[in-house]
Symmetry: C2
Subunit: 339 residues, 2 copies
C-alpha cells in the first residue's frame, strides 16, 4: 500500500480487488443456487459499492434507513426494500418513496402498522408492497448465525431458518395466500448456503462485501477476505507504560467488540504480538501481548493498519473511504449518514 | 418537549437552556477563580455551541482534530490549541493554520516532533507556538478524574494534577525558562475546582456543556444538568421476549459504556424500571429490570428519551443536532466530522 502511506491518518482504507471479489463470489453463489441476491447497503452506504454489489443493475437492494433509501432512489436505484419494522413517524416518507419508485417494499410485524398504511393510500395507482395491502414476501434475518463458530454451525442455523420460513409459507398457502416471496439471509448463512436455500426466493446479506474479524471468527470468511482497514500512525512512545500511542481512537474504529479479542479492539496487521488495549476519542494505546516492546521497530510517524472487529461499525465512523488498488489510492467513496 | 415529538427518530436533542446554563456556570467559575477558560470543542464540534462556550468571543478554544481547527478558523475563530501530540503527517496543515491565524498552538511530547517543526519554518514572520520553538505552555489533562466517585475524590485528583504541573513550572523556572502558561483540566476537575487551580493560567474542559450519565456518576454534575438526549420510538412489541423494540441502535447512541449501567446502555428518562439491554445497528431492545412489562404503557409509535452514557460518543454519531427551548425546536446545529 505504497501511496496509502501518504494519506492523513486515521483513514478507512478499502481494497478494491477484495471488495470486487467478495461481491462477485456472492453473485455467483446465488446464481448457482438459483436465488435472487438482494444485497444490503447498511455496511457501506455508498453508490460505488452498491454498483459493485448489484453488478451494475441498480436494482434489488435492502436498506436500513430512509436516508439510504432516498440516497439510492436519487441515484437511479429501484426495487428497494426498507428492512425495518415500519416506524409510524415515517409513513409519509415511505409513501413518497412508494409513489416515486416502481418498487419500494416496507416490513410490517403487527396489525397496527397495517392500519397506518391503510390510512395513507398511495397516488398514481400505486399499492403498498408489504403484508396485507399487497403481501410481497416474508423476511427473516437469521441473526443467530452471529453466535456460530465454523461452517457446520452456520449451516445448521441456515437450514433451520430456511425450514421455519418455508413452513410458514406452507401455512400461508393452506389459508389461500399464494405467491409471496421468501427471503432470509445474513452474511454467515449466505457465505455458506445450504442446498435447501434454493427453495427461497431471495437472500439479503450485506457485510460480506467488506467482511471483518468477527466474520472470520464466525467462519464466514478467511482473514485475507477482509477488504477494510483503518490506517493509523504512531504518535507517541511511552516506555514507562510499555505503550505506543496511535492516532486512532473510537471516532475512527468504533468500540465494537468491547476489546475482547486476544488482540484487543482490532487485529494489528502483521503484528500478532501487539494488542490495541484501549482507546479514547482520538487516541489508541498499543501494547505487546506479553514482554517488552521494542520501540525501535515502531518509529514515531510510522504506520500501522488495524483490521476492524466489525466493518459496519467502523465504516459508520468515517465521512470518506479511501479505495486502493495494487497499492495506489484510486478513488474516494462518500457514504450517506443519518436517518 | 411537545414539538420534539414530531421529529423523525432517532434524533439527538439538546436543551438550549441547559447548554447555556452549563456554559455560563463554567465561565463564571473560571472568572471567579481567575483562570482563563479555554473550552474544548470535541464534544459538539458546532459553531453555535462554540459561540455559547466562548461567550461570543470566538477566541481561546481547544480542538481534537485538524478538521475542527479548520472549521473554526474558517468561521472567524482564533487562538486555537490543537490538543494532540503532533502527528508528523499533519505538520504542513499545522503550518498553514499557524500562518493563517494569530495564534495556533501545537503540542509536542518528544524531541523528534520538535525537529519536524524546525524543518518547516513559518512564513509571515510567524513562529511555532509550542515547546522549544516558542514554549507557550504546559498542558495536562487529568483524565484520571474519570475514575473518581464524588466531589472529594475529584478534588484530590485536581489538587494533585495542579501540584505536579506547578512543580514542573518551577523546574522550568529553575533552568531559566520563564513565562510559559500552564493548563490542566477535565470536566470533572473544572466542575469542582480546588483553590490551587487559581495558580494555573488556563483550564480546558469540554464535555461540561452537555454533561452525561458518566459525569453524573463521577459527581461532576447532577442528572438534571445533562443537556443531551436521544429521542426514540417504540416500533415493536415482543411479549414472548418481554421486550420492546425501539428505533435507536448504536448508530444513534454509540456503544460507549458497554451496557454496564444498571439501566444498560443509557438511562431511559422517566422510566427507572426499564433497561436498554442491547442494540444492533438500528434497533434497541428495552426490557424491564425485573418483572413483566406492561406493554399498554408503551404503545407502538410512542416516544422514549435516552440520557446517554457519554455525550461525546453519542454526539459523534449524529450529522445534525435538534436544539429545543421550552418544548419547541428552535434550531438545528451541524457538527464537523473527520480529520
Amino acid at each position: 500500500m505504497s501511496s496509502c502511506k501518504f494519506i492523513n491518518t486515521p483513514a478507512l482504507l478499502l481494497d478494491l480487488e477484495i471488495v470486487q471479489r467478495n461481491a462477485r463470489l456472492m453473485l455467483d453463489r446465488c446464481q448457482k443456487l438459483g436465488v435472487q441476491l438482494r444485497p444490503h447497503m447498511k455496511t457501506h452506504k455508498t453508490l460505488e459499492c452498491a454498483d459493485i454489489m448489484t453488478g451494475g443493475s441498480r436494482r434489488c437492494i435492502v436498506v436500513s434507513t430512509l436516508a439510504e433509501a432516498s440516497f439510492y432512489a436519487d441515484r437511479g436505484y429501484d426495487d428497494i426494500l426498507y428492512a425495518y419494522p415500519l416506524p409510524f413517524d415515517k409513513v409519509e416518507r415511505c409513501a413518497q418513496l412508494s409513489e416515486r419508485l416502481s418498487l419500494f417494499h416496507v416490513l410490517l410485524d403487527n396489525s397496527l402498522a397495517l392500519q397506518q398504511l391503510k390510512k395513507r393510500p398511495l397516488s398514481h395507482g400505486k399499492i403498498w408492497h408489504t403484508a396485507g395491502v399487497e403481501l410481497t414476501g416474508i423476511y427473516a434475518h437469521c441473526g443467530n448465525t452471529y453466535g456460530c463458530k465454523g461452517e457446520e454451525q452456520i449451516k445448521a442455523v441456515a437450514q433451520q431458518t430456511t425450514a421455519i420460513t418455508l413452513q410458514f409459507m406452507e401455512k400461508l398457502k393452506a389459508i389461500g395466500i399464494q405467491g409471496p416471496k421468501s427471503s432470509i439471509g445474513s452474511t454467515p448463512s449466505c457465505s455458506h448456503p445450504v442446498p435447501e436455500m434454493a427453495m427461497l426466493s431471495e437472500v439479503h446479506p450485506g457485510n460480506y462485501v467488506f467482511y471483518d474479524v468477527q466474520q472470520s471468527l464466525i467462519g464466514s470468511c478467511k482473514l485475507e477476505d477482509v477488504a477494510v482497514r483503518v490506517l493509523t500512525r504512531v504518535i507517541g512512545h511511552y516506555p514507562h507504560r510499555n505503550q505506543l500511542l496511535v492516532d486512532c481512537g473510537w471516532t475512527a474504529l468504533s468500540l465494537d467488540g468491547g476489546g475482547r479479542l486476544p488482540t484487543g479492539y482490532a487485529i494489528i496487521e502483521g503484528h500478532p504480538e501487539l494488542k490495541l488495549t484501549s482507546m479514547t476519542q482520538e487516541h489508541g494505546r498499543v501494547e505487546p501481548i506479553s514482554g517488552e516492546l521494542d520501540f525501535s521497530q515502531f518509529p514515531l510517524g510510522s504506520v500501522l493498519t488495524f483490521i476492524p472487529h466489525h466493518a459496519c461499525a467502523t465504516a459508520a465512523m468515517h465521512p470518506v473511504y479511501y479505495v486502493h488498488s495494487k497499492g495506489k489510492i484510486v478513488d474516494t467513496w462518500k457514504p450517506t449518514r443519518g436517518w
